[in-house]
């Protein structure tokens, strides 16, 4: 287990670790799964540079082959060479911006075509085409904003403004004043952690001062806001749109069982969230892959994992045989005062993962093909 339960994104790290632990107990108690999982944990404290050493510790000192962990893309990039060198498999349980396929990673969080593309469609269909983009200054924000900008532009819309802030920055008064002044149809945020919470509070307050119902008239949308974070936002926690493959309010027998166990055991961490569920799903998938392979080695388990499915709390999850991401069902939720999300939209079924947005680009193809490149005499 390679999760940051301390540091700047500890709320999510703790939830992911808890989700994995819950699944571990279930696997070990399941008579149909003839294996026993023993967890070994390291906490890199949210420090990107500490991840490679932590991974080496697990793979070399403990001789471990299967690791659940990482949240930010920068931490994942940091550990990839270590997994490559030591023939180990990283089960990465977080949604991310895509544009990667590694033979040493199983991706159990949403790919961009499963969160940002459905969100762009929802915003265009329901809220208009004039957007404002704010984000924390790193690849997650840059890439999501690029994808949204292309989708808006293709639909004849416009990005009215785009600003980035250092992770953890809460000096956002000027930004909020400008946005309220410009009145976009919606705001797309990729601010993470405390920056995001402060932004939502300031925006709600500034809107109220001019008599604007912010949630209805100028909604904030993101691909990351989750149940684990709503308790930190206070009285501005409701009315925000989030795109995710999991919400604690999904109605299914699997989710009823999952959330009941979660609330009893980890209620102090808030309601169950997408990253916790992705970690839970990853552990169950590993157990099934090991049983199918009758082996625990990297190659045997990875090959057995291709095409594997699991009836998860979110519904059926299938590992794509080619890109090792998961087919999952996109959903849009709107946050409520009690720390959950109302479901506004559900895709009709699981959507194939498309990490490079080859098949599901929000915008029409930038180039129809290179035929028009022939020399003009």
């Amino acid at each position: 287990m390679l999760f940051s339960e301390t540091g700047s994104y500890s709320a999510v790290g703790a939830s992911m670790r808890a989700g994995a632990a819950l699944a571990l107990e279930e696997v070990n108690a399941d008579p149909d799964l003839p294996l026993r999982l023993e967890p070994v944990s390291v906490d890199p404290g949210g420090v990107t540079a500490a991840y490679a050493d932590a991974a080496r510790h697990l793979l070399v000192d403990h001789g471990i082959t299967h690791v659940f962990g990482c949240y930010t893309s920068s931490s994942r990039k940091e550990v990839l060479p270590v997994f490559d060198k030591h023939d180990a498999l990283l089960w990465y349980p977080s949604h991310y911006e895509g544009f990667e396929t590694s033979e040493n990673v199983i991706y159990t969080g949403a790919a961009p075509n499963q969160h940002i593309i459905p969100l762009a469609r929802h915003l265009l269909a329901n809220h208009g085409s004039r957007g404002w983009c704010v984000g924390s200054n790193y690849v997650w924000a840059w890439e999501n904003n690029r994808i949204l900008r292309e989708a808006l532009t293709a639909a004849g819309g416009v990005v009215m403004g785009e600003r980035y802030f250092p992770v953890g920055d809460t000096d956002l008064q000027d930004l909020v004043a400008q946005i309220v002044e410009e009145r976009p149809d919606f705001i797309f945020t990729t601010l993470i952690g405390v920056s995001g919470y402060e932004f939502l509070r300031l925006l709600r307050r500034a809107s109220a001062r001019i008599g604007l119902d912010q949630a209805a008239g100028m909604p904030v949308a993101s691909c990351s806001l989750s149940e684990a974070e709503l308790p930190f936002i206070g009285d501005a926690a409701d009315g925000h749109l989030s795109s995710s493959v999991y919400f604690s309010t999904i109605r299914s027998p699997e989710n009823a069982r999952f959330t009941a166990r979660w609330d009893a055991r980890y209620g102090r961490l808030g309601r169950a969230c997408a990253d916790a569920e992705a970690a839970y799903v990853a552990v169950h998938l590993l157990a099934r892959a090991v049983v199918r392979a009758a082996d625990t080695g990297l190659t045997a388990v990875r090959e057995a994992a291709r095409g594997l499915h699991f009836q998860a709390p979110q519904g059926l999850v299938t590992i794509d045989p080619e890109n090792l991401h998961c087919a999952m069902r996109p959903r849009i939720g709107r946050s409520t005062r009690d720390g959950t999300f109302d479901l506004l939209f559900e895709e009709s079924g699981p959507v194939q993962p498309d990490p490079y947005l080859v098949w599901s680009s929000g915008a029409p193809l930038a180039r129809p093909g290179p035929a028009h490149l022939r020399l003009v005499p």
Binding site: S102, Y356, V358, A366, R367, G369, P370
Partner: protein, 204 residues
């Protein structure tokens, strides 16, 4: 605003010239995942004509001259797959004007950036080449413009500035490059047709 770069290569036709091994297999898998249509050729096996492909990937370690698609030298982006780092091998990478490269052993990571850089680098190079062509043409026409200005100065007894300005305005009115107009005035005719216009000075 700058044009967006190409990031989606769905439907692009790639020719891979590489002996059948794990590298080639991985290359083919990842390119297919990126939406490209891949055709595989062994070194020495003719790969047809360049009109049938949009991108070439070739093994820089092997002798592939007989395989190279005919007419491909200037038309499509080229990616070298490099294992051996000896200068004699790398020389052909330079000669083939490769737009990017992939190192062996081939892994999943590194292929998408190589394709993206090759395609966009190639497009930039083509734009630059077109610009150079245009500039060369204009440079060649400069002597004609000077000659035409001198003739106008003599015929109408005007100064150089007035002569040039008159020529420039007529070129603009008729939407002609000033070089073509000058050529026409001197009796050479525009590039694309015979000199039709009478040698008048109506606009001067």
């Amino acid at each position: 605003m700058k044009p967006a770069i190409a990031t989606n290569f769905r439907g692009w036709r790639a020719v891979v010239i590489h002996r059948p091994d794990e590298n080639r297999q991985r290359l083919a898998e990842v390119l297919a995942r990126l939406g490209l249509e891949v055709r595989l050729f062994d070194p020495g096996e003719p790969a047809g004509a360049a009109e049938d492909c949009d991108l070439i990937l070739f093994d820089a370690d092997d002798a592939i001259d007989g395989t190279w698609p005919a007419g491909a030298d200037t038309d499509v982006p080229v990616i070298a797959v490099i294992g051996n780092e000896a200068p004699s091998r790398l020389a052909r990478v330079v000669c083939r004007r490769c737009d990017s490269h992939i190192l062996k052993p081939v892994r999943s990571s590194g292929i998408f950036p190589a394709v993206l850089l090759a395609v966009n680098g190639h497009q930039q190079r083509r734009r630059t080449e077109r610009e150079i062509g245009t500039l060369r043409q204009r440079l060649a026409g400069r002597r004609m413009v000077m000659k035409a200005v001198l003739r106008l100065m003599a015929e109408l007894e005007i100064d150089e500035e007035t002569a040039y300005e008159g020529l420039r305005r007529e070129a603009m009115d008729r939407r002609l490059p000033i070089e073509d107009l000058a050529r026409e005035r001197l009796g050479g005719g525009p590039e694309e047709g015979p000199s039709a216009g009478p040698r008048t000075s109506r606009n001067v």
